[in-house]
Protein backbone atom coordinates (compact mmCIF):
# COMPACT_ATOMS: atom_id res chain seq x y z
CA UNK A 1 0.00 0.00 0.00
CA UNK A 2 2.76 2.32 1.01
CA UNK A 3 4.63 1.31 -2.12
CA UNK A 4 1.77 2.32 -4.38
CA UNK A 5 1.76 5.72 -2.79
CA UNK A 6 5.53 6.01 -2.99
CA UNK A 7 5.84 4.65 -6.46
CA UNK A 8 5.48 7.90 -8.46
CA UNK A 9 8.21 9.48 -6.35
CA UNK A 10 10.69 6.86 -7.52
CA UNK A 11 10.48 8.61 -10.88
CA UNK A 12 13.16 11.29 -10.97
CA UNK A 13 11.07 13.75 -12.96
CA UNK A 14 8.13 13.57 -10.55
CA UNK A 15 10.31 13.89 -7.48
CA UNK A 16 12.28 16.73 -9.06
CA UNK A 17 9.08 18.71 -9.49
CA UNK A 18 7.78 17.65 -6.09
CA UNK A 19 10.95 18.95 -4.45
CA UNK A 20 10.56 22.11 -6.50
CA UNK A 21 7.04 22.61 -5.13
CA UNK A 22 8.13 21.91 -1.58
CA UNK A 23 11.09 24.27 -1.75
CA UNK A 24 9.37 27.70 -1.70
CA UNK A 25 6.99 26.66 1.10
CA UNK A 26 9.79 25.36 3.27
CA UNK A 27 11.80 28.49 2.59
CA UNK A 28 8.92 30.72 3.64
CA UNK A 29 8.14 28.72 6.77
CA UNK A 30 11.83 28.60 7.67
CA UNK A 31 12.09 32.35 7.24
CA UNK A 32 9.03 33.02 9.42
CA UNK A 33 9.93 30.58 12.18
CA UNK A 34 13.59 31.55 12.24
CA UNK A 35 12.96 35.29 12.37
CA UNK A 36 10.39 34.89 15.14
CA UNK A 37 12.60 32.41 16.96
CA UNK A 38 15.76 34.50 16.72
CA UNK A 39 14.06 37.71 17.89
CA UNK A 40 12.44 35.79 20.72
CA UNK A 41 15.71 34.10 21.69
CA UNK A 42 17.80 37.25 21.54
CA UNK A 43 15.38 39.87 22.88
CA UNK A 44 12.55 38.34 24.87
CA UNK A 45 13.73 35.06 26.34
CA UNK A 46 14.84 35.51 29.95
CA UNK A 47 18.50 35.21 30.86
CA UNK A 48 19.43 32.10 32.79
CA UNK A 49 19.94 32.82 36.48
CA UNK A 50 23.30 31.02 36.48
CA UNK A 51 24.65 31.42 32.99
CA UNK A 52 23.24 34.86 32.27
CA UNK A 53 22.93 35.92 28.67
CA UNK A 54 25.31 33.24 27.38
CA UNK A 55 22.26 31.03 27.59
CA UNK A 56 21.12 32.65 24.34
CA UNK A 57 23.75 30.54 22.56
CA UNK A 58 21.69 27.52 23.65
CA UNK A 59 19.03 28.44 21.06
CA UNK A 60 21.60 27.87 18.32
CA UNK A 61 23.74 25.15 19.86
CA UNK A 62 21.11 22.60 20.79
CA UNK A 63 19.04 22.72 17.57
CA UNK A 64 22.27 22.51 15.53
CA UNK A 65 23.52 19.54 17.56
CA UNK A 66 20.16 17.76 17.33
CA UNK A 67 19.93 18.35 13.59
CA UNK A 68 23.51 17.25 13.00
CA UNK A 69 22.69 13.85 14.50
CA UNK A 70 19.27 13.73 12.84
CA UNK A 71 20.66 14.48 9.39
CA UNK A 72 23.25 11.73 9.76
CA UNK A 73 20.48 9.32 10.67
CA UNK A 74 18.45 10.49 7.70
CA UNK A 75 21.43 10.03 5.43
CA UNK A 76 21.94 6.49 6.69
CA UNK A 77 18.25 5.66 6.19
CA UNK A 78 18.44 7.01 2.65
CA UNK A 79 21.62 5.00 2.04
CA UNK A 80 19.96 1.85 3.38
CA UNK A 81 16.93 2.26 1.14
CA UNK A 82 19.18 2.86 -1.83
CA UNK A 83 21.20 -0.29 -1.12
CA UNK A 84 18.31 -2.56 -0.20
CA UNK A 85 15.56 -1.39 -2.56
CA UNK A 86 17.86 0.01 -5.26
CA UNK A 87 16.20 3.41 -5.04
CA UNK A 88 18.54 5.64 -7.02
CA UNK A 89 16.85 8.76 -5.74
CA UNK A 90 17.61 7.81 -2.16
CA UNK A 91 21.25 8.01 -3.16
CA UNK A 92 20.74 11.52 -4.45
CA UNK A 93 19.04 12.63 -1.25
CA UNK A 94 21.83 11.13 0.87
CA UNK A 95 24.38 13.03 -1.19
CA UNK A 96 22.29 16.18 -0.72
CA UNK A 97 22.26 15.80 3.05
CA UNK A 98 25.98 15.33 3.79
CA UNK A 99 27.22 18.93 3.38
CA UNK A 100 24.21 20.28 5.27
CA UNK A 101 24.83 17.94 8.17
CA UNK A 102 28.52 18.84 8.21
CA UNK A 103 27.65 22.55 8.39
CA UNK A 104 25.31 22.02 11.33
CA UNK A 105 27.95 19.91 13.10
CA UNK A 106 30.42 22.74 12.56
CA UNK A 107 27.92 25.24 14.00
CA UNK A 108 27.31 23.02 17.02
CA UNK A 109 31.06 22.87 17.63
CA UNK A 110 31.68 26.61 17.26
CA UNK A 111 28.72 27.60 19.42
CA UNK A 112 29.74 24.97 21.96
CA UNK A 113 33.22 26.46 22.15
CA UNK A 114 31.89 30.02 22.38
CA UNK A 115 29.54 28.92 25.16
CA UNK A 116 32.32 27.03 26.90
CA UNK A 117 34.75 29.95 27.03
CA UNK A 118 32.77 32.11 29.51
CA UNK A 119 31.42 29.06 31.38
CA UNK A 120 34.59 26.97 31.70
CA UNK A 121 37.22 29.61 31.00
CA UNK A 122 38.53 27.70 28.00
CA UNK A 123 37.47 27.41 24.38
CA UNK A 124 37.74 23.67 24.15
CA UNK A 125 37.10 21.05 26.71
CA UNK A 126 36.99 17.32 26.14
CA UNK A 127 33.38 17.22 27.17
CA UNK A 128 31.56 14.09 26.04
CA UNK A 129 29.07 15.92 23.89
CA UNK A 130 31.59 18.20 22.19
CA UNK A 131 33.95 15.29 21.56
CA UNK A 132 31.32 13.12 19.95
CA UNK A 133 30.21 16.13 17.91
CA UNK A 134 33.82 16.48 16.69
CA UNK A 135 33.95 12.82 15.72
CA UNK A 136 30.62 13.23 13.94
CA UNK A 137 32.21 16.04 11.93
CA UNK A 138 35.02 13.67 10.92
CA UNK A 139 32.45 11.08 9.84
CA UNK A 140 30.64 13.68 7.74
CA UNK A 141 33.89 14.88 6.18
CA UNK A 142 34.77 11.27 5.31
CA UNK A 143 31.44 10.79 3.55
CA UNK A 144 31.84 14.08 1.63
CA UNK A 145 35.46 13.34 0.68
CA UNK A 146 34.57 9.85 -0.52
CA UNK A 147 31.67 11.26 -2.51
CA UNK A 148 33.95 13.80 -4.17
CA UNK A 149 36.66 11.23 -4.94
CA UNK A 150 34.50 9.34 -7.45
CA UNK A 151 33.99 10.70 -10.93
CA UNK A 152 30.82 8.70 -11.52
CA UNK A 153 28.16 10.19 -9.26
CA UNK A 154 26.00 7.10 -8.97
CA UNK A 155 29.03 5.07 -7.86
CA UNK A 156 29.97 7.89 -5.51
CA UNK A 157 26.50 7.77 -3.99
CA UNK A 158 26.70 4.03 -3.40
CA UNK A 159 30.19 4.17 -1.85
CA UNK A 160 29.29 7.12 0.39
CA UNK A 161 26.10 5.30 1.34
CA UNK A 162 28.01 2.24 2.55
CA UNK A 163 30.29 4.49 4.58
CA UNK A 164 27.30 6.33 6.07
CA UNK A 165 25.75 3.00 7.10
CA UNK A 166 28.99 1.81 8.70
CA UNK A 167 29.19 5.16 10.45
CA UNK A 168 25.65 5.02 11.77
CA UNK A 169 26.29 1.60 13.29
CA UNK A 170 29.45 2.98 14.86
CA UNK A 171 27.93 6.24 16.04
CA UNK A 172 26.16 4.85 19.13
CA UNK A 173 29.30 2.89 20.06
CA UNK A 174 31.44 5.99 19.64
CA UNK A 175 28.99 8.09 21.63
CA UNK A 176 28.84 5.52 24.40
CA UNK A 177 32.61 5.07 24.49
CA UNK A 178 33.24 8.81 24.57
CA UNK A 179 30.74 9.31 27.39
CA UNK A 180 32.29 6.45 29.30
CA UNK A 181 35.80 7.82 28.66
CA UNK A 182 34.62 11.20 29.88
CA UNK A 183 33.26 9.92 33.17
CA UNK A 184 36.50 7.98 33.64
CA UNK A 185 38.56 11.16 33.38
CA UNK A 186 36.24 13.25 35.50
CA UNK A 187 39.06 15.54 36.58
CA UNK A 188 39.08 17.17 33.17
CA UNK A 189 35.44 18.17 33.35
CA UNK A 190 34.78 21.48 35.02
CA UNK A 191 31.07 21.52 34.54
CA UNK A 192 28.59 20.13 32.14
CA UNK A 193 27.15 22.06 29.24
CA UNK A 194 23.83 21.07 30.59
CA UNK A 195 20.32 22.10 30.09
CA UNK A 196 19.55 23.68 33.40
CA UNK A 197 15.94 22.95 34.20
CA UNK A 198 14.35 24.74 31.31
CA UNK A 199 11.40 26.95 32.12
CA UNK A 200 8.51 27.38 29.70
CA UNK A 201 9.62 30.83 28.57
CA UNK A 202 12.91 29.26 27.51
CA UNK A 203 11.36 26.16 25.99
CA UNK A 204 9.02 27.90 23.53
CA UNK A 205 11.63 30.05 21.77
CA UNK A 206 13.83 26.96 21.61
CA UNK A 207 11.02 24.98 19.96
CA UNK A 208 10.34 27.76 17.46
CA UNK A 209 14.04 27.95 16.57
CA UNK A 210 14.24 24.20 16.23
CA UNK A 211 11.22 24.08 13.91
CA UNK A 212 12.65 26.97 11.91
CA UNK A 213 15.99 25.23 11.47
CA UNK A 214 14.22 22.00 10.50
CA UNK A 215 12.29 23.77 7.73
CA UNK A 216 15.52 25.44 6.67
CA UNK A 217 17.22 22.05 6.42
CA UNK A 218 14.30 20.60 4.46
CA UNK A 219 14.44 23.50 2.00
CA UNK A 220 18.18 23.04 1.53
CA UNK A 221 17.79 19.29 1.05
CA UNK A 222 15.15 19.97 -1.63
CA UNK A 223 17.45 22.40 -3.42
CA UNK A 224 20.52 20.16 -3.33
CA UNK A 225 18.42 17.09 -4.16
CA UNK A 226 17.22 18.87 -7.32
CA UNK A 227 20.81 19.55 -8.44
CA UNK A 228 21.79 15.94 -7.72
CA UNK A 229 18.84 14.62 -9.74
CA UNK A 230 19.72 16.93 -12.64
CA UNK A 231 23.39 15.89 -12.81
CA UNK A 232 22.52 12.20 -12.50
CA UNK A 233 19.89 12.33 -15.26
CA UNK A 234 21.62 14.83 -17.50
CA UNK A 235 21.15 12.67 -20.61
CA UNK A 236 17.42 12.09 -20.10
CA UNK A 237 15.04 13.86 -22.49
CA UNK A 238 13.03 15.51 -19.70
CA UNK A 239 16.13 17.15 -18.26
CA UNK A 240 17.21 18.32 -21.69
CA UNK A 241 13.88 19.94 -22.48
CA UNK A 242 13.70 21.43 -18.98
CA UNK A 243 17.13 23.02 -19.28
CA UNK A 244 16.53 24.14 -22.85
CA UNK A 245 13.25 25.81 -21.83
CA UNK A 246 14.94 27.68 -19.00
CA UNK A 247 17.74 28.77 -21.33
CA UNK A 248 15.17 30.19 -23.74
CA UNK A 249 13.43 32.03 -20.94
CA UNK A 250 16.72 33.67 -19.97
CA UNK A 251 17.48 34.52 -23.59
CA UNK A 252 14.19 36.38 -23.93
Amino acid sequence: MMWKWLHPYANPEVSYHFAGKLLPWCTRLAFIFLSVGMVWALLFAPADYQQGDTFRIFYLHVPAAMLSMGIYLGMAIAALSSLVWQLKLADASAAAMAPIGATFTFIALVTGAAWGKPMWGTWWIWDARLTSELILLFLYLGVIALHNAFEDKSLAGKAAGILALVGVINLPIIKYSVEWWNTLHQGATVGKLGQPSMSADMFWPFLVCFIGFSFFVTALICLRFRSEVLTRNSMRPWVRTLVANEENKHAI
Binding site: F138, L146, F150, L155, I162, L163, G167, S177
Partner: protein, 227 residues
Protein backbone atom coordinates in the same frame (compact mmCIF):
# COMPACT_ATOMS: atom_id res chain seq x y z
CA UNK B 1 36.07 -30.13 -12.03
CA UNK B 2 34.83 -30.63 -8.54
CA UNK B 3 33.50 -27.56 -6.76
CA UNK B 4 35.82 -26.15 -4.10
CA UNK B 5 34.44 -26.34 -0.59
CA UNK B 6 34.13 -23.16 1.46
CA UNK B 7 36.88 -24.20 3.81
CA UNK B 8 39.22 -25.09 0.95
CA UNK B 9 38.57 -21.74 -0.73
CA UNK B 10 39.19 -19.92 2.52
CA UNK B 11 42.51 -21.63 3.22
CA UNK B 12 43.52 -21.31 -0.42
CA UNK B 13 43.21 -17.54 -0.31
CA UNK B 14 44.90 -17.24 3.07
CA UNK B 15 47.82 -19.34 1.82
CA UNK B 16 48.04 -17.41 -1.42
CA UNK B 17 48.12 -14.04 0.36
CA UNK B 18 50.73 -15.25 2.82
CA UNK B 19 52.87 -16.58 0.02
CA UNK B 20 52.70 -13.32 -1.92
CA UNK B 21 53.56 -11.40 1.22
CA UNK B 22 56.57 -13.54 1.99
CA UNK B 23 57.87 -12.84 -1.50
CA UNK B 24 57.70 -9.09 -0.78
CA UNK B 25 58.96 -9.06 2.76
CA UNK B 26 59.19 -5.25 2.84
CA UNK B 27 55.42 -5.08 3.00
CA UNK B 28 55.47 -6.92 6.32
CA UNK B 29 58.54 -5.28 7.78
CA UNK B 30 57.86 -1.64 6.88
CA UNK B 31 54.71 -1.17 9.00
CA UNK B 32 56.56 -2.81 11.89
CA UNK B 33 59.51 -0.46 11.52
CA UNK B 34 57.06 2.43 11.35
CA UNK B 35 55.46 1.19 14.58
CA UNK B 36 58.81 1.04 16.34
CA UNK B 37 60.01 4.42 15.07
CA UNK B 38 56.81 6.24 16.00
CA UNK B 39 56.98 4.81 19.49
CA UNK B 40 60.62 5.82 19.92
CA UNK B 41 59.84 9.36 18.80
CA UNK B 42 57.60 10.01 21.80
CA UNK B 43 60.26 9.77 24.54
CA UNK B 44 62.45 12.01 22.39
CA UNK B 45 59.67 14.55 22.06
CA UNK B 46 58.31 14.40 25.59
CA UNK B 47 61.38 13.62 27.66
CA UNK B 48 62.72 10.44 29.18
CA UNK B 49 61.08 10.82 32.59
CA UNK B 50 59.82 7.33 33.36
CA UNK B 51 56.71 8.34 35.32
CA UNK B 52 55.41 10.43 32.41
CA UNK B 53 56.26 7.73 29.91
CA UNK B 54 54.56 4.96 31.84
CA UNK B 55 51.51 7.21 32.21
CA UNK B 56 51.16 7.72 28.44
CA UNK B 57 52.57 4.37 27.24
CA UNK B 58 49.21 2.63 26.58
CA UNK B 59 47.97 5.52 24.46
CA UNK B 60 51.20 5.76 22.48
CA UNK B 61 51.41 2.06 21.76
CA UNK B 62 47.79 1.91 20.70
CA UNK B 63 47.88 5.04 18.53
CA UNK B 64 51.07 3.77 16.88
CA UNK B 65 49.39 0.41 16.29
CA UNK B 66 46.41 2.17 14.65
CA UNK B 67 48.71 4.14 12.35
CA UNK B 68 50.85 1.11 11.48
CA UNK B 69 47.73 -0.90 10.60
CA UNK B 70 46.50 2.01 8.50
CA UNK B 71 49.79 2.06 6.63
CA UNK B 72 49.58 -1.64 5.86
CA UNK B 73 45.92 -1.65 4.80
CA UNK B 74 46.67 -0.51 1.29
CA UNK B 75 48.03 -3.86 0.17
CA UNK B 76 44.86 -5.68 1.30
CA UNK B 77 43.12 -5.22 -2.07
CA UNK B 78 45.27 -2.82 -4.09
CA UNK B 79 47.59 -5.19 -5.97
CA UNK B 80 44.78 -7.68 -6.54
CA UNK B 81 42.69 -4.86 -7.94
CA UNK B 82 45.49 -3.70 -10.23
CA UNK B 83 46.22 -7.12 -11.75
CA UNK B 84 42.54 -8.01 -12.05
CA UNK B 85 42.55 -11.00 -9.71
CA UNK B 86 40.12 -9.21 -7.39
CA UNK B 87 37.45 -9.22 -10.07
CA UNK B 88 38.15 -12.88 -10.75
CA UNK B 89 37.59 -13.58 -7.08
CA UNK B 90 34.33 -11.66 -7.04
CA UNK B 91 33.16 -13.71 -10.03
CA UNK B 92 34.00 -17.06 -8.42
CA UNK B 93 31.11 -19.26 -7.22
CA UNK B 94 32.13 -19.02 -3.54
CA UNK B 95 30.30 -16.42 -1.47
CA UNK B 96 32.26 -13.17 -1.34
CA UNK B 97 31.88 -13.18 2.44
CA UNK B 98 34.33 -16.10 2.71
CA UNK B 99 36.84 -14.65 0.26
CA UNK B 100 36.82 -11.30 2.02
CA UNK B 101 37.15 -12.91 5.43
CA UNK B 102 40.11 -14.96 4.20
CA UNK B 103 41.87 -11.86 2.91
CA UNK B 104 41.27 -10.06 6.21
CA UNK B 105 42.58 -13.02 8.20
CA UNK B 106 45.70 -13.08 6.04
CA UNK B 107 46.14 -9.35 6.59
CA UNK B 108 45.85 -9.77 10.34
CA UNK B 109 48.39 -12.60 10.33
CA UNK B 110 50.79 -10.36 8.45
CA UNK B 111 50.37 -7.13 10.43
CA UNK B 112 48.35 -7.63 13.60
CA UNK B 113 50.29 -10.64 14.80
CA UNK B 114 53.78 -9.09 14.36
CA UNK B 115 52.53 -5.96 16.13
CA UNK B 116 51.39 -8.06 19.08
CA UNK B 117 54.72 -9.88 19.19
CA UNK B 118 56.77 -6.71 19.17
CA UNK B 119 54.55 -4.68 21.51
CA UNK B 120 56.06 -6.00 24.82
CA UNK B 121 59.47 -4.81 23.66
CA UNK B 122 58.14 -1.33 23.05
CA UNK B 123 56.30 -1.45 26.36
CA UNK B 124 59.69 -1.97 28.01
CA UNK B 125 61.07 1.07 26.19
CA UNK B 126 58.15 3.15 27.47
CA UNK B 127 58.35 1.87 31.07
CA UNK B 128 54.85 0.45 30.95
CA UNK B 129 53.59 -0.55 34.38
CA UNK B 130 54.53 -4.16 35.07
CA UNK B 131 51.01 -5.28 35.90
CA UNK B 132 49.74 -3.92 32.54
CA UNK B 133 51.55 -6.34 30.24
CA UNK B 134 48.77 -8.90 30.34
CA UNK B 135 46.18 -6.27 29.57
CA UNK B 136 48.29 -4.89 26.73
CA UNK B 137 48.56 -8.32 25.12
CA UNK B 138 44.88 -9.17 25.59
CA UNK B 139 43.67 -5.85 24.18
CA UNK B 140 46.02 -6.13 21.20
CA UNK B 141 44.95 -9.71 20.62
CA UNK B 142 41.27 -8.76 20.56
CA UNK B 143 41.71 -5.27 19.14
CA UNK B 144 44.01 -5.68 16.13
CA UNK B 145 41.55 -7.99 14.29
CA UNK B 146 38.98 -5.19 14.67
CA UNK B 147 41.44 -2.80 13.07
CA UNK B 148 41.89 -5.17 10.11
CA UNK B 149 38.14 -5.74 9.78
CA UNK B 150 37.11 -2.08 9.90
CA UNK B 151 40.09 -1.04 7.82
CA UNK B 152 39.07 -3.49 5.11
CA UNK B 153 35.83 -1.54 4.66
CA UNK B 154 37.78 1.64 4.06
CA UNK B 155 40.18 -0.03 1.62
CA UNK B 156 37.34 -1.67 -0.27
CA UNK B 157 35.69 1.74 -0.68
CA UNK B 158 38.84 3.49 -1.88
CA UNK B 159 40.48 0.74 -3.92
CA UNK B 160 39.22 2.14 -7.21
CA UNK B 161 40.39 5.68 -6.45
CA UNK B 162 43.83 6.76 -7.62
CA UNK B 163 44.84 8.79 -4.60
CA UNK B 164 43.06 6.77 -1.97
CA UNK B 165 45.78 6.81 0.69
CA UNK B 166 44.96 10.02 2.54
CA UNK B 167 41.26 9.52 2.06
CA UNK B 168 41.55 6.07 3.66
CA UNK B 169 42.85 7.53 6.92
CA UNK B 170 40.00 10.04 7.00
CA UNK B 171 37.46 7.23 6.54
CA UNK B 172 38.93 4.66 8.88
CA UNK B 173 40.46 6.48 11.85
CA UNK B 174 37.16 7.80 13.31
CA UNK B 175 35.86 4.22 13.30
CA UNK B 176 38.85 3.11 15.39
CA UNK B 177 38.09 5.50 18.26
CA UNK B 178 36.00 3.13 20.45
CA UNK B 179 38.69 0.41 20.27
CA UNK B 180 41.33 2.96 21.24
CA UNK B 181 39.30 4.23 24.20
CA UNK B 182 38.45 0.83 25.67
CA UNK B 183 41.86 -0.71 25.04
CA UNK B 184 43.84 2.10 26.66
CA UNK B 185 41.48 2.24 29.59
CA UNK B 186 41.83 -1.51 30.13
CA UNK B 187 45.61 -1.10 30.26
CA UNK B 188 45.25 1.86 32.62
CA UNK B 189 42.99 -0.15 34.93
CA UNK B 190 45.50 -2.97 34.95
CA UNK B 191 48.23 -0.53 35.93
CA UNK B 192 46.17 0.39 38.99
CA UNK B 193 45.59 -3.31 39.75
CA UNK B 194 41.89 -2.91 39.00
CA UNK B 195 39.90 -5.53 37.08
CA UNK B 196 39.69 -4.85 33.36
CA UNK B 197 37.31 -7.63 32.35
CA UNK B 198 34.61 -5.12 31.52
CA UNK B 199 36.68 -3.28 28.93
CA UNK B 200 37.89 -6.58 27.46
CA UNK B 201 34.32 -7.80 27.21
CA UNK B 202 33.32 -4.67 25.31
CA UNK B 203 36.29 -5.02 22.94
CA UNK B 204 35.31 -8.66 22.41
CA UNK B 205 31.75 -7.58 21.65
CA UNK B 206 33.00 -5.04 19.12
CA UNK B 207 35.22 -7.77 17.65
CA UNK B 208 32.37 -10.21 17.15
CA UNK B 209 30.05 -7.53 15.81
CA UNK B 210 32.63 -6.38 13.27
CA UNK B 211 33.50 -9.98 12.42
CA UNK B 212 29.91 -10.66 11.41
CA UNK B 213 29.06 -7.31 9.83
CA UNK B 214 32.27 -6.00 8.26
CA UNK B 215 32.65 -8.70 5.56
CA UNK B 216 29.19 -7.77 4.25
CA UNK B 217 30.11 -4.11 4.09
CA UNK B 218 33.42 -5.01 2.44
CA UNK B 219 31.78 -7.13 -0.23
CA UNK B 220 29.19 -4.42 -0.96
CA UNK B 221 31.98 -1.86 -1.19
CA UNK B 222 34.07 -4.08 -3.48
CA UNK B 223 31.11 -4.48 -5.81
CA UNK B 224 30.86 -0.69 -6.05
CA UNK B 225 34.61 -0.20 -6.47
CA UNK B 226 35.15 -2.79 -9.17
CA UNK B 227 32.16 -1.60 -11.13
Amino acid sequence: MTPVSYRAAFSLIVKRDLMIAFRHRDDIINPLLFFIIVVTLFPLGIGPESSTLSRIAPGIIWVAALLATLLSLDRLFKSDHLDGSLEQMLLSPQPIFILVLAKIVAHWLLTGLPLILIAPLLAVLLHLHESSYGALMFTLLLGTPILSLLGAIGVALTVGIKKGGVLLSLLVLPLYIPVLIFATSAIDSAAMNLPYNGQLAIIAAIFFASLTLAPFAVSAALKVSTN
